[in-house]
């Protein structure tokens, strides 16, 4: 079986605990306005590369001593990694045999069956919440959030460890009522261990240009660090979870 892979980073410390190999999968069905990786959207891309399961496992295994020493492992990201869940499942199964910890970072905009199917082999999910408000989600990502929230609840019920990721995009995701609702949603999910607030930055905008896409956020200023601290405090007191700023 083959997976379509956009790129691999052998050293990440921001996508789950410890030192991790992050595999960025090609393809995504959402169209988030702040997306840093619009080059991962298309299912087919000349820059992506096919990897056999065995081939990717070789890459992953090369770094086993680092995972062991730091409590790290493998994280699938993207794009939307779960579009290629069959491939991920094969890799996760093998990682289990090798005692390498498994994680994926997903918008969870995917059929719940897929999520359930992966649960036995998944140690951690980095679950994105784009917008708690369904209409705003539609505007921000091109899709509603019903599936997303449902899948987070499913993960929670099945006792999968969850880290929530939430992008602070001024005037799109930082309205008080949205933050409050999101935090309260999280508070009720015991499986959520922590929340990463990711400040919006425009470093990905050049990629939009390269792809002839119209970047709509030129006017938006990245949030100031003071403001972020404030939000982090608010979020943490409402959700009763540790909040980290990336």
């Amino acid at each position: 079986m083959k997976g379509k892979i956009h790129s691999i980073d052998t050293f990440s410390t921001l996508d789950g605990p410890g030192i991790r190999t992050v595999i960025f999968m090609q393809g995504c069905a959402l169209r988030c306005k702040y997306c840093h990786n619009p080059d991962t959207w298309a299912v087919e891309s000349p820059d992506a590369r096919d990897y056999e399961v065995k081939e990717l496992m070789e890459v992953i295994l090369k770094n086993r001593p680092y995972y062991e020493a730091s409590g790290g492992g493998v994280t699938f990201s993207g794009g939307e990694p779960l579009l290629q869940h069959h491939f991920i499942k094969e890799i996760f199964k093998l990682c289990r045999q090798e005692k390498i910890s498994t994680a994926y970072d997903s918008s969870l905009y995917i059929s719940s069956q897929v999520v359930l199917d992966l649960i036995p082999f998944t140690d951690l999910v980095l679950a994105d919440i784009k917008q708690i408000n369904n209409e705003k989600s539609q505007l921000l990502t091109g899709a509603g959030n019903v599936l997303n929230l449902k899948n987070i609840r499913i993960l929670n019920e099945n006792k999968v460890r969850i880290w929530i990721r939430y992008v602070i995009l001024p005037s799109w995701t930082d309205a008080y009522e949205d933050l409050e609702k999101t935090a309260l949603f999280i508070r009720d999910l015991p499986q959520v261990e922590r929340v990463d607030l990711l400040p919006y930055h425009s470093l990905g905008s050049h990629k939009w240009k390269l792809l002839d896409l119209e970047y709509q956020l030129h006017e938006v200023e990245p949030p100031s660090s003071n403001y972020l601290q404030e939000l982090a405090q608010l979020f943490s007191s409402l959700s009763q979870r540790p909040v980290y700023l990336a």
């Binding site: 691999i8 980073d9 052998t10 050293f11 990440s12 410390t13 921001l14 605990p17 410890g18 030192i19 190999t21 840093h36 090369k62 770094n63 001593p65 680092y66 995972y67 062991e68 020493a69 730091s70 409590g71 790290g72 990463d196 470093l203 980290y244 700023l245 990336a246």
Partner: protein, 742 residues
């Protein structure tokens, strides 16, 4: 038995010189954390303030505060010097005043004069006259016998940085012998050694008799030097303060007698801990007092100065002395060698602030206690002042009482020594292979004469074949050049005092080195996996290349090219070993550049990997910047593939990362840095310099150096004050890959 040895666990060390045995029987491994540590005392703070003022003045005077051009330095050339007698617990300076640099003429008359003139002073003409007429110096000796071929090789830069015009250094005397045994005991042992020599007067025994006699004289001089400061070091040290003072005197004598490039300290922290524990036990000192003594020792080590020429600084930028102290590691019995004093000496980076000296080197073993690893990682993140070396890799070869000289050179203390040999330029050698030995920059015939490569496209097998011929040529020339240098160094600038703190029968390594490894390997990879077209100038010399297609690059954990790296290293040490080395030395090889990668690059033409003429080579064993595409670990793994057995003099890897890329919280960053180090060493890596810093901070420091006097970063194998680098070198450091996530 000496009364000073009371309460120590007896052993063989009492009957003969055996510092290792003393340590093994007496040290207390410490498994706890850093919470016991004390801050700097008021006295230390005042003293360090005074030093900082001096350092500031030194910076404002172009890096050299004062030069004494009148008195050539020897162990007793200068009267005692002090910073502030009332504040100093550990005394002794190289000259009569702090940061004043003396001339060391035995290494080379011409060099000393040039160095003086570079700083606007002139040695007295009577002095110059005397040396010209009556006393040959090392540098002069070497050039008297150099062949035209050697001079040419040196001039074009295929072999450079050789210790033919400066002290070779890289010798670690076992300074601990002085506090443990006292000078008289050391003299007696040397006398016994001399008397037990074969009565037949062969070259060997005559030379050795002479050497040992000179060593005894040097020990006597050391005793006099200490006496001038009011201390009698003929007997062993009786307490902590004496132990540190005796040890420092031993080191001070060595840096007065020699201005070697690297004058390393060895492995003293755990040794000294034994004295501290004994005094703590007896209630003679408390923790504050122990830390105060270590802080004061480190202050002295930070003030070591030698007078250098500007050319020297181009090779070894930032005025380094490699006062390398090896910390931690494990014993052959499996116990780790971390003591509270391992913490104390590292803690000076906090008490006195970050600094390049002493060159703090952690000997990494999987047996190190976890709190200690966390402490080191935290300090690395905070100060970027620490390097790490793989003890589990070195211990089987050097036992558990070795030290690191300079950056990455291991040797058993007091039993082994090295003959240092800088490095040659492999990237240039590859161009010689293509151009039939003609230098691509000067167009001299330097290497073995062959026709220039004829085809339009470079063929891998043909280039490899040619490379082997040139490599054999270089190896022979390099070994012979080194033989001359070290013969003359022994003859005209011997390290009498340092060798007096060695066994009389020393095992020697002859340490060769290579620069440009990654460029040479990437070039071979381009030739093998892409198509490389040659571009000739009007004389038919190949000066440029057109690469058609892609090729795997070193630094991406890709065996296709990483194997070429290994092959180059393996081939070169094999050729070197073909040619016998002076003193029957064992040939070793390092992959280390110091900061000379910038200078070597300047003198190297365009290479088949696409690197342009004059561009810097990568430092040490690093991949060339910008060529690692698979992230930090892929680069680490590529470097870790170079087998230590082929490069026993060390494989230097400098790793720079922005803090955020190590994790979000300090706890995460510490955990991930230690994971990175442990993983790298499990993979077989030998050495890692760790910088945790934003390149933006470095850019800022380039513009406003006055605001960053203490900003310390690690370059290949040592640490420097960033602002002391030349602009070119600063730019190279910034251009170097910083791992970060976009």
């Amino acid at each position: 038995m000496f009364t000073q040895w009371q309460d120590f666990e007896p052993g063989r060390w009492m009957c003969e010189i055996d510092v290792r045995d003393f340590i093994q029987r007496n040290y207390h491994p410490y498994d706890g954390d850093d919470s016991f540590l004390s801050g700097p005392s008021a006295r230390t703070r005042s003293l360090w303030d005074k030093c900082q003022e001096l350092l500031r003045r030194e910076r404002s005077r172009n890096g050299v505060l004062e030069v004494d051009a009148d008195i050539p330095i020897t162990i007793n050339s200068h009267p005692p010097g002090y910073i502030d007698r009332d504040l100093e617990l550990i005394v002794g300076l190289q000259t009569d005043s702090p940061l004043k640099r003396a001339i060391n003429i035995y290494g080379g008359l011409r060099t000393s004069v040039r160095a003086c003139r570079a700083y606007g002073v002139e040695p007295p003409s009577s002095l110059i006259d005397f040396f010209e007429k009556h006393r040959r110096t090392h540098n002069d000796g070497v050039f008297t016998v150099y062949t035209p071929e050697m001079r040419l090789a040196r001039r074009v830069g295929i072999i450079t940085g050789l210790p033919d015009s400066y002290g070779r250094g890289r010798i670690i005397a076992d300074y601990r012998r002085v506090p443990l045994y006292g000078i008289n005991y050391l003299i007696r042992t040397k006398e016994d050694d001399r008397d037990s020599l074969n009565k037949t007067m062969s070259d060997y025994s005559i030379q050795l008799r002479e050497r040992i006699s000179d060593q005894i004289k040097a020990l006597q001089s050391l005793k006099e030097m200490a006496a001038a400061y009011g201390f009698d070091i003929s007997q062993p040290a009786a307490n902590t303060r004496e132990a540190i003072q005796w040890l420092y005197f031993a080191y001070l004598g060595a840096i007065k007698e020699q201005n070697g490039a690297a004058m390393s300290l060895g492995r003293v922290a755990t040794f000294l801990d034994i004295y501290i524990e004994r005094d703590l036990e007896k209630g003679i000192i408390n923790e504050e007092a122990a830390q105060e003594l270590i802080d004061q020792l480190v202050i002295k080590l930070r003030l070591v100065r030698h007078l250098r020429t500007p050319e020297y600084s181009e090779l070894f930028a930032g005025d380094p002395n490699w006062v390398t102290e090896s910390i931690g590691g494990a014993g052959v019995d499996g116990r780790h060698l971390v003591t509270k004093n391992s913490y104390r000496i590292l803690h000076t980076l906090q008490n006195l602030g970050p600094a390049p000296e002493p060159n703090m080197t952690i000997l990494w073993s999987k047996n190190l206690p976890s709190p200690f690893i966390n402490f080191c990682s935290r300090l690395s993140i905070k100060t970027s002042s620490i390097q790490y070396e793989n003890d589990d890799l070195m211990r089987p070869l050097y036992g558990d009482d070795y030290g690191i000289a300079c950056c990455v050179s291991a040797m058993r203390l007091g039993k082994e020594s090295q003959l240092f040999g800088a490095r040659c330029n492999l990237a240039k050698l590859l161009l010689y292979a293509i151009n039939g030995g003609i230098d691509e920059m000067t167009e001299d015939q330097v290497g073995r004469e062959m026709p220039v490569y004829e085809g339009e496209y470079l063929d891998f097998d043909q280039v490899m074949h040619r490379l082997k011929i040139q490599m054999d040529w270089l190896a022979e020339l390099y070994v012979n050049t080194m033989n001359i240098i070290h013969y003359m160094h022994d003859r005209y600038a011997p390290e009498n005092l340092q060798m007096a703190m060695h066994d009389s029968d020393v095992h020697y390594f002859m340490a060769f080195g290579i620069a440009g490894l990654s460029v040479a390997a990437d070039s071979l990879s381009a030739i093998k996996y892409a198509r490389v077209k040659t571009v000739r100038n009007e004389c038919g010399i190949i000066r440029d290349f057109v690469i058609e297609g892609e090729y795997p690059r070193y630094g991406n954990d890709d065996d296709r090219v990483d194997e070429l790296v290994v092959e180059l290293v393996r081939m070169f040490i094999k050729y070197l070993k073909k040619y016998p080395a002076y003193r029957n030395a064992e040939h070793t090889l390092s992959v280390l550049t110091i900061t000379s990668n910038v200078m070597y690059g300047k003198h190297t033409g365009t290479t088949p990997d696409g690197r342009k003429r004059g561009e810097a080579l990568a430092p040490g064993a690093n991949p060339l910047h910008g060529r690692e595409e698979k992230g930090a670990l892929a680069a680490c793994n590529s470097v870790a593939k170079i087998p230590y057995k082929y490069a026993r003099d060390g494989i230097s890897f400098t790793f720079s990362i922005v803090p955020d890329s190590l994790g979000k919280s300090t706890a995460e960053q510490v955990n991930n840095l230690r994971g990175l180090l442990q993983g790298y060493f499990t993979k077989g890596g030998h050495h890692m310099n760790v910088n945790v810093i934003h390149p933006e901070v470095l850019k800022e420091a380039m513009e406003h150096p006055e605001q960053y006097p203490d900003l310390t970063i690690r370059v290949s194998g040592y640490a420097v004050h960033f602002i002391k680098l030349s602009r070119e070198q600063q730019e190279e450091v910034i251009a170097r890959t910083f791992y970060r996530r976009m």
